[in-house]
Amino acid sequence: MPAPRDPVPTPARPVPSPGGLRSSHYPGRLIVFEGLDGSGKSTQAHLLLKWLSSRGYRAFFTEWNSSDLVSSIIRRGKKKNLLTPTTFSLLHATDFADRFERHILPPLRAGYVVICDRYVYTAYARDAARGCDPDWVRNLYAFAVPPDKTFYFRVPVETAHKRKEASRLRIKYYEAGMDMNLSHDLTESYLRFQGLLKRQYDVLARTEGFQIIEAEQDIEALQREVRSAVRPLLGGFPKEEVLVHGT
């Protein structure tokens, strides 16, 4: 199918895909927030969105939450104990591909600043922690465009867990890595799984060139750091109305 011409003539980059599913260019910007649960990245992403909107940029927010389709499959798989690391990983890739094809690539092509609360790196870290072949996982996500900026909110596991506890959200089975038999105790398993994830993230930070943000500072200081890193990306970028999605 022929791609429509980009409406905004800003510096255009090729859209990588599984070998040219779409060969076109996009003028938008992609900013990614990564980190453990309770690292404060969602708060920071929200504040960045507010700032961009107030400055008149066209910004779009999307987060890594499972669609109804996939979460119902996961629920069912859990009940029957059907899910393995491979199917789990593929399910999340399917879900992400759907979100990518709907909510990430179109706004990028329309010239929006797209803010992602978690991106492919979440899958890299999680699937590698579960024992999937890292090269294979990367290939799964080969269709995803590389971000312009990735912030990694680094916190000690204990701090992240305390924040999670304070939020009084129940820890879910897969979030705690209970399928990996790390421990019979949910909290214990959660802490150990988060430790594994953190190790993966720390490696990814080096190999993928994340901007590391030490997330134990106060919220205002963190946001100042984020904004000053985003500012250079917006040179010559068009401002217009704002569209918020996914909250």
Binding site: M1, S17, P18, G19, G20, L21, R22, L69, S72, I73, R76, G77, L82, L83, T84, P85, T86, T87, L90, L91, A93, T94, A97, D98, F100, E101, R102, R130, G131, C132, D133, D135, W136, N139, L140, A142, F143
Partner: protein, 268 residues
């Protein structure tokens, strides 16, 4: 990591006996060297040497007589005293319902659909095929990753991406490709359904609004992929423009040779 490609020795293509001897030797080398018998990606939690059974795949377009051949081969193998598990695509109970839903609504993009099929395949592989192979059964698969790869590539994915995506699949001991002329497929489709199926005509590709023309062009695109895979993966081609019994005779003799080869190996 580059996907592992196999080179077929020249001249061996026509003589499938030599071809599958080579194919078996290749897979055995790989198992010994790298400790796996799949296409390059290890499957977490599965010891490849524990899979004692045989995996036989029958590939071919809709209407090439796959299902009939599978049933006949199963019958034959069971008479010979083998435990046989018959399996196919899109029969897993994890996601088949959701795939049907998605197909109805035409809502998912090509990449998403390709990955969705991969979930379904992985689920069947790990929950049905692997346990049966571990128990020493012969698993007879009515279609395998090759159909899924061909469909994805025809819809715009790269061969490399598709190969790597299915890198976790267990390498079949033998893949039989039933080759049929498109005209025959056409007549069989009319005979069975009275019309051409939307998906089997590749209408979602938007090649042509005319279903008849779309069918021919879609089948020829698929054929290109299968020809390429025949070279890459070493399929045993069987001419399926004949009666089921004639085709069965060819299929059976290939499978017999495979199983005899395996028996000799255990004696050694």
């Amino acid at each position: 990591m580059a996907p592992r490609k196999e080179e077929t020795p020249s001249g061996a293509k026509k003589r499938d006996g030599r071809l599958f001897a080579w194919h078996r030797r290749e897979s055995r080398n790989k198992v010994e060297k790298l400790g796996f018998n799949n296409y390059g990606t290890r499957l977490p939690g599965i010891a490849p040497e524990s899979l004692r059974g045989h995996l036989i795949v029958i590939e071919g377009a809709d209407g090439s007589g796959r299902t009939t051949e599978c049933a006949m081969l199963k019958e034959y193998l069971e008479v010979q005293g083998h435990a046989v598990l018959e399996t196919g695509l899109r029969r897993s109970n994890l996601v088949s319902e959701q795939i049907d839903q998605a197909k109805q609504g035409h809502v998912l993009g090509a990449t998403t659909m390709a990955l969705f099929y991969a979930v379904d395949f992985a689920d069947q592989l790990e929950n049905k095929i692997v346990p049966a192979l571990a128990a020493g059964s012969i698993v007879l698969s009515d279609r395998y990753i090759f159909t899924l790869m061909a469909r994805a590539v025809v819809r715009g994915a790269s061969r490399q991406w598709a190969q790597h995506l299915y890198g976790f699949a267990i390498r079949p001991d033998m893949t039989i490709l039933l080759e049929t002329r498109p005209e025959i497929l056409l007549h069989r489709a009319f005979g069975r359904y009275g019309s051409l199926d939307y998906w089997e005509s590749g209408m979602d590709l938007g090649i042509s609004r005319d279903r008849f023309e779309s069918f021919f062009r879609y089948q020829s695109l698929l054929k290109t992929e299968f020809d390429w895979m025949t070279k890459t993966y070493g399929f045993v081609k069987v001419n399926a423009n004949r009666t089921p019994m004639e085709v069965h005779r060819d299929v059976r003799s290939s499978v017999q040779r495979l199983l005899e080869g395996a028996r000799l190996e255990t004696f050694r």
